[in-house]
Subunit: 416 residues, 2 copies
C-alpha cells in the first residue's frame, strides 16, 4: 500500500481526488501497487465531502506519517507551497506539483533537494495542463539538440484572440466573454499581460537547456495592444495572431526566451490551434519538429497530468529521474529581445494603394540587401518573411513613416 | 561505461549511429553515464565506414559480451529480429526496436520475456516515428480511461491524399510522385493498402487497452478507391479525406480498431496535418483529447525515437517499466467493422439538384428517426453528421439509389 497526499482542495486538487477515485483500479495497476489517498491538506472545512475524514490542516500531520510516499501540491503560489515541498523532500517524500509559479521561481532548488534525497520532483501539470510535454521533452526527445520551442501556453489569451476574429469582437469584449465563461480571472493581468505564459516558457527553457531561466529575465508582452484590425489583416494574409511563448537557441549557445504576440502563418499547425487549447512545438536537430496539443487548463485535464506524475512517483520511488537543471548563478546565457531576428507583420493606420505599398516595400528591402519578393501585401497590412535584425526592422518602420504609410502596429513573424 | 549495440545498418540503424556520435555528450549526460556503441550487426560489409571496426556478422558476438546493456534493433521484419531480441532478453540485455511489424506480431511475447528477465523492451520508434506517443500514452496519460485513439499513422498515404487535393492529381499520379521523392516504396501495398497503419494501430490499441491486438483482426482498407472528386468534395464540405487508423472503446468494454479513409471535419486538427506528417489524437476521460504531431518516418526522426529509448534503457537498466500488455488468447474483445457507428460522407456519381438532394436526405433521416438538420450538402456530395449504425447507413444508400441519386463512394465521418 502506497500512501499519498494532496495539498490544496481547489479546482485542481479536488480534480485529482475525484480522478483517483474514479479510475482507482486502473491507476493502481499502472502504479504497480495499491494506493491510498491518505490526506488532503486544506485550511478550509469540507464537512459534506465524501472525503471529510481525509482533511488535515497541518503539513506536519502528513510528514509524521512515514508511510506517505508522494505528495501532490495543487495550492498555487510560491509560499507556503515551496516550504511544504522542501520539507516533504527532506523527509524523503517525492513531490508532484501543478504550480508553474513555484517551478518557474524555485525549480532549481526543488530539483536539487529532490536529488539530494534520492526523491523525485515532477511537474508535468505545470505547463500545458493535460498535454504531456515535460516528460516527452526531457525523455523521449533526449537524444536531440533542442534548437527552439514555440508555444501557445495560455488558453485564455488564445480564446480571446480567436473570439476577436471569429465573432468580430474587440479585445475588451472578448475578455469579458472569457471572464463570463470562467476562462479568465476577474483580475486578468496574469493571462493577458503574458505573465502566465512567461512562467511556462521559463520552465520549458530551463528543462531544454539545463539552466534555470527566471521570469524576470524574459521579455514579456501581452495581447492588450492587439486590435480587431490586426486579427482581420493577419487572417487575410493567411495567418493568425497568437500569443507565442518561445525560446530560441542562438549560435553562440545563449538562448532567447520571449513572450509576445506573433503572426503565425497558416502553414504552421500552431495557427490552427484555437479556443482554450494549448500547443507546444519543439524543434530539434533530429526530429525536425513535433507538436503537442491539448487542453492547457481545467480541472480534470490538469488532474490527469498530476495523477500521471503521482503514478510515476509511486512506481519509481527512489529511482531518481534526471529531470534536472541547475541555477547557473547568473542569467548571462539569456539574450534580450533586441537580439531577435524575425520577419515582420505590419499593419497600417489606413488603407494604402496596394501597388505603391508593394513597390515601396520592395525598394526598402532591396536597399538593405534583402530579397524584395519575400513579402505579401494587402491594402492595410503586409508580411515580410525575410529575417531581419532589430536595426533593420526599425529602419523599415522609419522609412514607411517617412513615406507617409504610417505603421500602426507590427509584430514578429513566427518562423519555425 | 555502458555498452550498447545496433542491429541493422540500414536507414534507421545508420541514423542511430550518426545521431549517437553527433550528440554523444548530451546523450551521455541524459543517460547518466558514459556510453559506448560497441557493435553494429549487419551481414553486409562497410569497409569505408568510420565505424568499420564495430561491425559484426553474428548476434553471438554481441551476446558473448557481458558488458552490453542495451540492443537497438533496426532491421525490420519479424525474423530474425524476433529470435535475436528474445536471445538478448534471455541474456538480461534490454531491447529497443523501431520495428512495428515485430511489435504488432510479437509484442506480447517480447514484453513477457522482458519482464521475466527484469529487462525493458521499448518501441517508441515503432509508431509515429519522431513523435513521442508510446511513452506519453502509457505514462503521462496513465490516469485516464482511454476512450478512443484516432491517427494519421502513415505519412506516405497522407502525402498522396494531400498532393491529390493541392495539385489536382489522381491517385496514380500522386503515388508516382511519392515514389519519385522516396516517400513510397516501389511495391507500395504496405502503405496504400493500410497494412502499415494497421500494425501501428495494433500497437497503440494493445498499449491502451492491455491486450494484444493482432493485425489479422483489424478491418483494414487503403486509399486506392479515393478519387480526386472525393478530395475536392471533402474540401468543399469543410473537411479532408485522411487515412485514419482508429480504435474506439465500446460500451461493453470491447474495442473496435480499424484502418480506413475517413472524412475529417476541419474543426479537428487532424484534418490540418498534411504532407508526410503523422498525428495521433488520444481521447481520455480526464484529458478530453490531446494531439501528438510530427514526422512519422525518416532516418533522423526515427533515430531520435530509438536513441531516446536507448537512453532510457541505459539509465534505468533493471528498473522494469510496466509498458505491458498480455496475449489474451482470443481476439473476442475486438469488434468488427459492422459495429461502427458513424456519420457519412457520400459522393454522388453526378451533380444533383442541391435543393432536391437536401429535401430527399431530410426525408430519409426523419424516416429513420434522426435529426434532419444534421447535414451539409453540395451538388455532388453530402456530409451527414448524425451517428448511424451499419443498417441505417445501408438503408440511406439504398434509398438514395432508389431515388436515382447514385452514390459513387461513401466513407465514415471521423467523430472525436
Amino acid at each position: 500500500m502506497k500512501k499519498f497526499a494532496v495539498l490544496g482542495y481547489g479546482t485542481v486538487g479536488s480534480g485529482v481526488v475525484e480522478l483517483f477515485h474514479r479510475n482507482e483500479a486502473k491507476i493502481e495497476e499502472k502504479a504497480g501497487s495499491p494506493m491510498e489517498l491518505a490526506y488532503i491538506l486544506d485550511l478550509r472545512d469540507f464537512p459534506d465531502s465524501p472525503y471529510a475524514d481525509k482533511f488535515v490542516k497541518s503539513i506536519d500531520t502528513i510528514l509524521a506519517d512515514k508511510e506517505v510516499t508522494v505528495v501532490a501540491e495543487c495550492m498555487g503560489g510560491v509560499e507556503p507551497a515551496f516550504t511544504y515541498l522542501m520539507r516533504c523532500l527532506q523527509n524523503d517524500i517525492s513531490v508532484v506539483t501543478s504550480n508553474k509559479e513555484l517551478i518557474a521561481q524555485k525549480g532549481a532548488e526543488l530539483l536539487a533537494e529532490a536529488k539530494a534525497h534520492s526523491c523525485n520532483c515532477f511537474f508535468e501539470a505545470s505547463v500545458g495542463g493535460a498535454i504531456p510535454i515535460i516528460r516527452p521533452l526531457h525523455r523521449c526527445l533526449a537524444a536531440n539538440e533542442i534548437t527552439a520551442i514555440f508555444g501557445i501556453l495560455n488558453g485564455t489569451t488564445n480564446y480571446i484572440l480567436n473570439k476577436m476574429l471569429t465573432d468580430g469582437m474587440r479585445f475588451e469584449e472578448a475578455l469579458e466573454k472569457a471572464q463570463k465563461h470562467g476562462y479568465a480571472e476577474r483580475e486578468p493581468s496574469a493571462d493577458v499581460d503574458g505573465h502566465d505564459a512567461c512562467r511556462k516558457i521559463c520552465i520549458l527553457s530551463s528543462l531544454a537547456f539545463g539552466k534555470h531561466v527566471y521570469p524576470e529575465s524574459v521579455y514579456t508582452e501581452g495581447i492588450r495592444q492587439i486590435t480587431l484590425e490586426d486579427a482581420y489583416a493577419a487572417d487575410a494574409l493567411d495567418g493568425a495572431v497568437k500569443l507565442i511563448a518561445s525560446v530560441i537557441k542562438l549560435e553562440d549557445g545563449r538562448i532567447l526566451p520571449a513572450v509576445m504576440p506573433m503572426f503565425v502563418p497558416h502553414e504552421n499547425l500552431i495557427s490552427r490551434v484555437d479556443g482554450v487549447f494549448n500547443c507546444v512545438e519543439v524543434c530539434g536537430d533530429a526530429i525536425d519538429r513535433a507538436y503537442f496539443t491539448g487542453r492547457g487548463a481545467g480541472k480534470m485535464p490538469t488532474a490527469s497530468a498530476v495523477m500521471g506524475d503521482v503514478i510515476e512517483a509511486v512506481k519509481h520511488h527512489k529511482t531518481v529521474f534526471s529531470q534536472f537543471w541547475i541555477d547557473a548563478g547568473t542569467q548571462d546565457f539569456v539574450a534580450g529581445i533586441d537580439e531577435l531576428v524575425s520577419g515582420m507583420f505590419i499593419r497600417f493606420e489606413a488603407a494604402q494603394d496596394v501597388e505603391a505599398l508593394a513597390q515601396n516595400l520592395s525598394a526598402i528591402l532591396i536597399g538593405i540587401g534583402h530579397d524584395e519578393d519575400a513579402m505579401d501585401v494587402i491594402d492595410n497590412a503586409c508580411v515580410i518573411s525575410v529575417k531581419l535584425n532589430a536595426k533593420e526592422r526599425a529602419l523599415i518602420l522609419d522609412k514607411l513613416n517617412e513615406l507617409g504609410m504610417k505603421p500602426a502596429h507590427w509584430m514578429p513573424v513566427m518562423d519555425a
